[in-house]
């Protein structure tokens, strides 16, 4: 029988493994432990040793949380800006950035090939009126109407014809959106003209408002007197 041929030394590793795993020893080992007192004692010692290790590990791992921990964490959380989910996923942002770089490279190459070294110069020579604008004040590229519309898709705009565009932001009071829409529709159709809104009406001369002074009835001022209930009638008499 092979088990009978094994010595105590052969079981040493199995003993340690069983103690380390904190499991029941195998049937073979158990039968040896039943027969061998020294191995039984060694096994008990091993189990105690691993129990001491477990206890020490637990002492390290199961530390008490300091009382100051939660208040400090909350204070630091309050300092933090509240997390916000990025409305553009990282992949989309990356793709957009890549597309921009490609477009930039393409446009640069296109400029070199076709439009010449200085696009601004070409535009200026084609449109002499632009020459009068000082270089410091002139925008690099005047945005087209479609570009402007793309930039602010939620806003409605009315652009009268002309070269220079000045924007005016108008805050619509609550409940007047429909009225302003109607006005804008009229302006677009040509039923209304923008000049009518900004210039004075020729048929109606401006009238000065008449301001009458505010009439205030004279106020009778009496000295404040603290009167008891009994002395009140007497004082009234004397005052009269």
């Amino acid at each position: 029988m092979p088990s009978k041929m094994k010595t105590c030394e052969d079981y040493r590793t199995a003993l340690t493994d069983a103690a380390a795993a904190a499991v029941q020893p195998s049937l073979e080992l158990r039968s040896h432990l039943d027969a061998c007192a020294s191995c039984r004692a060694a096994f008990a010692e091993e189990k105690q040793f691993f129990a001491a290790i477990n206890k020490a590990v637990r002492a390290t791992a199961d530390a008490e949380v300091p009382v100051s921990f939660f208040p400090r964490v909350r204070a630091r959380l309050n300092e933090q800006s509240v997390p916000q989910r990025s409305w553009i996923p990282a992949s989309v942002a990356f793709a957009a950035a890549a597309a921009l770089i490609v477009a930039f490279v393409f446009l640069r190459g296109h400029r070199r090939d076709g439009a010449g070294p200085n696009l601004q110069m070409n535009i200026a020579t084609r449109n002499p009126a632009r020459k009068t604008i000082p270089a410091a004040l002139a925008p690099a590229v005047v945005p087209s109407r479609t570009q402007a519309a793309k930039r602010e898709p939620n806003n409605r705009r009315l652009v009268p014809s002309g070269n220079q565009v000045e924007r005016v932001s108008v805050l619509i009071p609550a409940g007047q959106k429909r009225a302003v829409d109607t006005l804008l529709a009229g302006l677009r159709n040509g039923a209304l003209k923008a000049d009518m809104l900004v210039s004075e009406h020729p048929e109606q001369p401006s009238q000065d408002l008449e301001l009458s002074p505010l009439t205030i009835s004279p106020i009778e001022i009496k000295p404040l007197a603290i009167m008891s209930e009994e002395s009140a009638p007497e004082k009234e008499k004397t005052s009269r």
């Binding site: 340690t16 493994d17 380390a20 795993a21 040793f49 691993f50 001491a52 290790i53 477990n54 020490a56 590990v57 637990r58 002492a59 390290t60 791992a61 199961d62 530390a63 949380v65 300091p66 100051s68 921990f69 939660f70 400090r72 964490v73 909350r74 630091r76 959380l77 933090q80 509240v82 997390p83 916000q84 989910r85 602010e152 939620n154 806003n155 409605r156 705009r157 009315l158 652009v159 009268p160 014809s161 002309g162 220079q164 565009v165 000045e166 924007r167 005016v168 932001s169 108008v170 805050l171 619509i172 609550a174 959106k177 302003v180 804008l184 923008a194």
Partner: protein, 189 residues
């Protein structure tokens, strides 16, 4: 010439209000997680660093990181495991940088630092040897050993926390204990 740009203020205010409400909801949810998992983050850090002040710093940092990325976490049920990993990683990094610093520093400053810590009273000689032996454990084994020793976690809980099969947890724990035993055998009382 003029271009009229019409702004609707109500929509922006509504958006802002909705955003604030959503942020408050996130904060509330995170507070719940903080109460539940905050101590675990501290203990993981403490288990690696064995210093209360350092562990508190690391646990705070882990929780802040978790808070910043909280909305990106799709499965909120995995928060505990996620936080444990963040805290453990940060603690390991801190321990490594401390070790590098210790090498640079002189011996007297090293002993002075250890003597000043509050943990000295709690450590026995055996505990110190164990701490040193734990430092030498591979990270994966060390984390399993700590989590299994912590708050009476069962092996199933540790496996769930780390997203590992139970067999892997068992084998890591077994080898961690054996490795500790080999290191500590000479210091056995």
């Amino acid at each position: 010439m003029q271009e009229l740009v019409l702004i609707q203020p109500g929509r922006a205010a509504e958006k802002e209000f909705a955003q604030e409400a959503a942020q408050a909801a996130v904060r509330r949810e995170f507070e719940e997680r903080l109460a539940e998992c905050g101590p675990l983050a501290y203990r993981v850090a403490r288990g690696v660093l064995r210093n209360s002040a350092d562990a508190e710093d690391v646990a705070q940092e882990a929780l802040l990181r978790a808070y910043r990325r909280f909305e990106r976490l799709r499965d909120r049920g995995r928060f505990r495991a996620w936080l444990v990993r963040i805290a453990f990683r940060l603690a390991i990094d801190r321990a490594r940088s401390a070790k590098r610093r210790e090498v640079r520093e002189t011996l007297w400053s090293q002993t002075a630092r250890r003597a000043s810590t509050e943990d000295l009273a709690a450590t026995s000689e055996f505990q110190e040897h164990l701490d040193r032996a734990m430092d030498e454990l591979p990270e994966k084994r060390r984390l399993v050993l700590l989590l299994a020793a912590m708050q009476g976690h069962s092996l199933e809980e540790v496996a769930e926390m780390l997203g590992l099969p139970i067999g892997t947890v068992k084998s890591r724990l077994f080898f961690a204990r054996k490795q500790l035993a080999e290191k500590l055998r000479c210091h056995r009382k």
